[in-house]
């Protein structure tokens, strides 16, 4: 199929997607908008985790630590100056009077998460497999402990509240599209092939001249950047950040989303994040109706178990969406 035509389809699909976003923003009720926002944030988290874990093969349990860093950076930047002065006495004075909008907060959140990933990665990425998993989990714990105890900057366990609700569907959906596009482009680039090569055979990859530590660090840092942005969006959506929000539940949730979607498949991550967000919301409704609280988590876990048993490679394996394949099923013009 002609590549110009494929681009045309892609633009049309994007047009339809943003039309949907417009309709939801204009006519959807608050609940649907909130679910839509969460869905887009989960898409960003899952796709960026897939870059470092699925595509690059770093067993990371610390991804949500980068989300926490992003969320706190955005929270501190967007918190109203009065509250900042009262709560965050540990900040330098010039920062008390600053209150940024969402875009600078997002970018700085991503950047700081990336810088931390760079520093942490230099050390942690020397480890592999289960050792890397334990070390990244250690990182997550450290982030949480710092957030809990750095009273004059994070306000400890009470968290930062009264954040302006900047996040809306336009921000989250645009950030999700940018993340998907960026990770997709990386996957299809020579860097992406190098990542797959290092994942599959570290030694062979190095013997053809790939700088394996460098490429692993690259995947880790880019992944942390987008995860930090997701943290910023989350902070200004929920309006509160506290240490407990960014811990094991979210860590497990995005790992499950990635694995069920297919490790290595961007398409799979998107499908899975969208699907699980809807499933979780439906289950929550069901739970309230029958008044058996907690049952949604059990059903969620069973879905995951069944998937691991009957389709361990996930929904998509490592395959990707292509218009060519769509055309085989639906006759497109």
């Amino acid at each position: 199929m002609h590549s110009g035509r494929q681009a045309g389809y892609t633009f049309m699909a994007l047009g339809l997607f943003f039309l949907g976003i417009y309709l939801l923003s204009a006519y959807g009720n608050h609940y649907y908008q909130r679910v839509g926002n969460l869905m887009m944030i989960y898409v960003i988290l899952t796709v960026s985790l897939n870059l470092s874990s699925g595509i690059m093969g770093i067993s990371s349990l610390g991804q949500i630590g980068f989300m926490a860093i992003g969320a706190y950076v955005a929270a501190i930047l967007t918190l109203p100056p009065g509250l900042k002065e009262r709560w965050l006495t540990g900040l330098p004075h010039w920062m008390h009077s600053i209150q940024t909008g969402l875009l600078p907060a997002m970018l700085l959140a991503g950047l700081l998460a990336a810088v931390v990933a760079f520093l942490v990665g230099i050390v942690i990425l020397r480890l592999q497999g289960v050792f890397a998993a334990v070390a990244t989990l250690g990182f997550l714990i450290i982030v949480k402990v710092i957030a809990e105890n750095w009273m004059t900057v994070t306000r400890g366990g009470r968290g930062l509240s009264a954040l302006p609700a900047y996040t809306n569907l336009w921000w989250t959906s645009t950030a999700a599209v940018v993340t998907i596009y960026a990770v997709w482009r990386i996957l299809k680039s020579p860097h992406g092939r190098s990542m797959i090569a290092v994942r599959e055979h570290d030694l062979a990859a190095q013997s053809v001249g790939i700088n394996a530590p460098k490429i692993r660090l690259l995947a880790f840092v880019i992944s942390a950047f987008f995860t930090g942005i997701a943290g910023a969006l989350w902070a200004n959506l929920i309006g509160v950040v506290s240490p407990g929000s960014f811990y094991l539940w979210l860590t497990l949730l995005i790992i499950i989303m990635m694995v069920v979607g297919g490790m290595g498949s961007v398409t799979g991550s998107v499908i899975s994040a969208v699907g699980f967000t809807i499933l979780l919301e439906l289950l929550r409704g069901f739970e309230n109706k029958i008044a058996m609280y907690g049952i949604s988590y059990i059903i969620f876990a069973v879905v995951f178990l069944l998937m691991i048993i009957f389709r361990p490679e996930g929904i998509m394996g490592d395959r990707e969406f292509s218009w060519r394949n769509v055309r085989r099923i639906i006759p497109l013009p």
Binding site: P190, A204, A205, S207
Partner: protein
């Protein structure tokens, strides 16, 4: 002299794998290292390629030391190792596998020409360019692995057990390609358990036993040596 290894010692933790080995390879030569399992052949090759860090000793390539260089810099200098056990990238296509071999090169036109050249050496791969590497047979995977290591256009090609586990027909095919490369002037350092075939194709050889070089000489000398005969050539 393209490669000169002097008194090389390598450790795995506390265990010493190489006890000071010395050998050299001249430009245009084919040199083989023979020895049994665990003698230190692969260790030697991995160290030359920068994938293992040496203890004492020196590795000189084209007159300068490569002892402390990381693997990717060594590839850039012109040394290419085709590691033991194929190790192709199974989820990448055959074509992508070949391209990965040229990951440090930027001359796109020449890379495309070199893909054609590799395919002329291994015509079996021609019809399988879009297939995932993991779907190839063992012999085809070995050809792909050798082809991939040729894509960096090495001055020194290092082959670790290229005939391991292959049917005799395929072993012939692989050795024919090595002979072609040799005739084209590529310098080859070959490690083999199939000592007979290795000595047939090589100009010179070294025998390595428990981390030490115990014998060296021209292939004709080694082939007629009684010790080599009984230990490696099956009497």
């Amino acid at each position: 002299m393209i490669l000169q290894v002097t008194d090389l010692e390598v450790f795995y933790g506390n265990i010493q794998a190489l006890h000071g080995i010395s050998f050299n390879v001249e430009e245009g030569e084919t040199v083989t290292i023979i020895g049994s399992n665990g003698a230190g052949k692969s260790t030697t090759l991995l160290t030359i390629a920068g994938l293992l860090k040496p203890g004492k000793g020196e590795i000189k390539y084209l007159g300068t030391s490569t002892k402390t260089l990381p693997a990717d810099r060594i590839v850039r200098r012109g040394i290419s190792l085709c590691p033991e056990g194929r190790r192709i990238f199974s989820s990448l296509t055959v074509y992508e596998n070949l391209i990965m071999g040229a990951v440090q090169r930027r001359d796109r036109k020449k890379i495309r020409a070199d893909v054609k050249w590799v395919l002329s050496l291994f015509p079996d791969l021609n019809s399988r360019l879009d297939q995932a590497g993991g779907t190839l047979s063992g012999g085809q995977q070995q050809m792909l692995a050798i082809g991939r290591s040729l894509m960096s256009r090495p001055k020194l090609l290092i082959l670790d057990e290229p005939s391991l586990g292959l049917a005799p027909v395929l072993v012939n095919q692989i050795f024919n390609v090595i002979a072609t490369l040799k005739n084209d002037g590529t310098t080859v350092l070959l490690v083999e358990q199939n000592a007979r075939r290795a000595l047939e194709i090589a100009d010179r050889g070294y025998v390595i036993e428990t981390g030490r070089i115990t014998m060296e000489g021209s292939s004709t000398f080694l082939k007629s040596n009684d010790q080599v005969k009984s230990a490696y050539l099956g009497g």
